[in-house]
Symmetry: C2
Subunit: 566 residues, 2 copies
């Protein structure tokens, strides 16, 4: 590394030192933190920036996306907006995979040599660059994933960047824990041996980061930044229906790297299409050292089984469970559940899906509410969410994939056959986008033996009420389903401390993160960076946690050299 | 956990708090540390303790080994002493594997519930109990592995316990980094949400720990203690020719656990025989959550490929390389190499095997020494090591397996055919054990194209001198062989700083830990706990490092629960 390069990287580290310290403190205390305001109106020079962002997005449509990376061998891209039903008309360079790996490898030595602080400084600068890109990026997320404007801004913007910073914090801590050198001295018989020992951090090599269609950045940023900070290069493989958010992100990262004097090929984009998928080839590539995967449980399981000898970090999906045992008031619970089960049309890996209710009903402040009554309360709350199209638009947003509508259709048929439909699904009229692909959530009521329906993630606006023998059976069934089918979040409502304690223990072993008795303004499934651990790795919903030490500690290795000194 | 149990475990943690603090400091500074004197004469009440230990060992011979663990379904054991050639005559309970898993699972909840400090206290007490067992254990290692008395005491005793403490330190740090709870507060719109969040550490489950024939405890103690400290149970699967050291260790650990009020079935022994191996069944057992493996590269590769969904930590083997470029004096280098290549008859995963020398010879303080001259110096040094049987016994010790002698035979034949024999192998007469299986090291001189011979670990007293075009070619060939066949240690001799810097960079990428220009009293391959990282995970010699954060961080997971507070 040249002295000049040293100076640039060192300056970036100094520039972001205070942010790093505050984020590090937040990861330790798990208290609330974010350097970024969560609403667009508080973005710097908000009105102008947001207008410019929208104009920039519009200018991208229908054109080749400029991404000056090596190995271009044609172009592709057939994204369609879930809001307008129109193709975005953007095409991206389809780069030869071997060329991308070669370019990444060529970029590695100087990046490794730069050392932890320099890389952390550059990574935090990438976060800033992505924040600067957010006014454009939010439209890219809206028109590929189908998220609402607000969620695109916060969930795929500021919250995702927070998860990225969090990953950088953990990477920085893990690297800082390794002493760079030591003087070691010991007697061997009558002789004293003194050795100067030097320890260097060695990156694994090239990481491949798969991003998903509905939430492209939230898992991608922490994965990319964890790999980069620890000295690796990253090839980003976006879902073919949601390339633009990652194309913008990759381009921003490349610019920061180049500006800091590093080879931009530390971050590249590998696009593919549904008809010619690249995924397996990338996982099995002999130069793939790390795989980060977010996506379907089926391909995720294949990745986990086939990534060796690459390291593999996955977040797939599962059945997120709710247990209703007793409540003080039914209506706020029903409203929170209805809202969360509609949020982004339940196209989130944290969306609740299965509500387990004792068949004898639940205690509501001393009186018994039957399952019928609970279902009625839920149905009323469901209707409340979708009554006003403007409010529906802000909550439900759009359906990313046509196949989700098909699944809703087949599930409501099967649900009607094996049980009953509590609330049916229907499109709602989006006030701004008349062609938007929309669907309200269907809620199906089934018996426990309909496991073929509910004991599997049904991705999209599909929920189940499952009647169990009693509350203990509800907890047993829910946690057993989580162990079998995976589960990231879980929700329990009970006024009995003993039941909540049992739920805490059972869900801890099953490995779903539990939220108890929550109602009100916060979406039930909101996962806060720096505070909420996302995915335990204890069930089939994924093996990696955002963010714990194990998410970063193996992404680099330690090589040492020792020699005698006088 | 009962209050009484709490008190016992808390007292153990307090008792060992100072040791933990000192060991933690050593891991951070990488300076010399050990709580244990390294020579038997400094063992507490040495003479009496060692005599008692020997008598206890003698009393074990020819008898059933008492290990009160569940599921006994017969007994087995056919260990033979490499020193006496006589069977030890000890048999061990062959426990039904499913019973061991069930018993381990039954023991887990209370162990998980006890919490990090309590477990760390108990684990450090296990270290003390193993130290108390050392006067017996050293004979068990001698008469199964074939190590010398001194190595059995230090290498398999105090050094192994240090590696165990080191693993406990890292486990303690990783667990302590997770806040047990937090109060989190944030605004959502006009509402303020306050959540009490609790985080609990959840163990993976049951770990299986494979131990190897020649160095049973050195890798096993850190693996066992890392798993235990993080809340898991451990089933130890010793090599069938070296059960006794681990049977004693398991029994000692079980006693400590029981005395501290925990279920001793947190640590059990699963013995097998060469004719009815258990290894694959244990790796593939649906309840196996973690596999630690030390042993052959071949089975190690199978374990790495098949352990999923269990976590897998391996240390197998490789070719450890030496590069001679230039030296100030030849004789001390030859002596250090000869001694180290004879140490425990090179039955160590860190023993050097391949010496790469430029065919034009090397610079010795300004004059050129030909390859012939270097080989003669090595041959003289080899003879020096074995000239005195008493000294030979202390260095070479005994050959663990008859197959090693066969390998020496086939290698010297092949070496003579494809090159020449620099020094031949021969048995030496052990002064105390006339029946000891012994062999001095064979040194073969070959051309680079004899890769079929040297580019593979040849486990035992077998070394190669490989003539390369020049010094750069030596470095290129050696590091390329390490990348292909694995390598844990590496050694370079050069008086040119630029060459050493190139070697440091090349070996860092190849992933072998480099020692430069070392001569004198310390065995070249000595790896110091708290200071030397053992195995990088960057080449096929294993994927786990003793000890870095990644060795412990994934052995537990984090589950959380959150609920609103006023």
């Amino acid at each position: 590394m040249t002295a000049a390069l040293n100076a640039v990287a060192a300056a970036l580290f100094e520039q972001h030192r205070d942010l790093l310290a505050r984020a590090t403190r937040a990861c330790a205390t798990r208290e609330y933190f974010s350097p970024f305001p969560e609403t667009p109106d508080r973005y710097p020079d908000s009105a102008a920036a947001l207008a410019r962002g929208h104009a920039t997005f519009q200018a991208l449509l229908g054109k080749p996306f400029e991404l000056d990376q090596p190995g271009e061998a044609g172009r592709l891209g057939d994204e369609v907006s879930p809001y307008t039903a129109a193709p975005l008309g953007i095409n991206y360079p389809r780069s030869d995979v071997d060329t991308l790996f070669r370019a990444a490898h060529a970029a590695l030595p100087a990046w490794a040599e730069a050392g932890p602080d320099a890389r952390v400084g550059v990574c935090l600068e990438i976060v800033q660059a992505l924040y600067a890109e957010l006014p454009v990026l939010l439209h890219a997320v809206m028109h590929t994933a189908g998220q609402s404007y607000a969620m695109s801004y916060a969930g795929s913007g500021t919250n995702a960047l927070d998860r990225g910073i969090e990953a950088i914090v953990y990477a920085h801590q893990a690297m800082s824990a390794v002493a760079p050198s030591a003087l070691w001295e010991r007697r061997f018989g009558s002789a004293t041996i003194r050795l100067q020992k030097n320890y260097r951090l060695v990156p694994r090599g090239v990481a491949v980061c798969f991003t998903c269609a509905t939430f492209p950045t939230w898992n991608a940023y922490p994965a990319m930044l964890a790999s980069l900070a620890t000295g690796n290069a990253v090839i980003v493989k976006p879902h073919p229906t949601g390339i633009l958010p990652m194309a913008l992100s990759v381009r921003a990262a490349r610019r920061v790297l180049a500006d800091a004097g590093f080879d931009p090929n530390l971050v590249t984009l590998a696009v593919d299409s549904a008809s010619e998928p690249l995924g397996k080839r990338l996982v099995n590539h002999p130069q793939t050292a790390i795989v980060d995967f977010t996506g379907s449980a089926r391909f995720g399981a294949w990745v986990e089984q086939n990534a060796y000898p690459a390291l593999c970090y996955t977040e797939t999906s599962g059945v997120n469970t709710v247990i209703l045992e007793s409540v003080r008031e039914l209506e706020p619970v029903a409203r929170s559940l209805a809202t969360t089960m509609h949020l982004f049309s339940a196209q989130m890996c944290t969306s609740p899906q299965n509500i387990y209710i004792p068949r004898g009903g639940i205690d509501v402040d001393g009186r018994r509410a039957s399952v019928d009554e609970v279902c009625e309360a839920l149905a009323a709350a469901y209707r409340g969410v979708t009554a006003d199209p403007k409010r529906a638009a802000s909550i439900l947003a759009a359906i990313q994939s046509p196949s989700t509508l098909e699944l809703v259709g087949s599930m409501r048929e099967a649900g009607a056959r094996l049980g009953s439909i509590v609330v049916d699904s229907a499109p709602y009229a989006h006030p701004d986008y008349p062609s938007a692909r929309t669907a309200s959530s269907v809620l199906l009521r089934v018996k426990p033996d309909a496991r073929e329906l509910y004991c599997e993630e049904r991705f999209g606006p599909i929920g189940f009420v499952i009647e169990t023998d009693d509350a203990d059976a509800a907890l047993a069934a829910a946690t057993s389903d989580v162990r079998a089918a995976g589960g990231i979040t879980a929700f329990a409502y009970s006024t009995r401390e003993r039941f909540l304690a049992a739920a805490e223990s059972a869900y801890a072993v099953a490995g779903a993160q539990l939220t108890c008795n929550l109602t009100g303004a916060m979406p039930l499934n909101f996962a806060a960076s720096y505070s909420d651990y996302h995915v335990t790795g204890l069930n089939p919903a994924g093996n990696a946690t955002l963010t714990d030490a194990s998410f970063v500690a193996a992404r680099f290795r330690i090589a040492q050299s020792r020699r005698p000194v006088a």
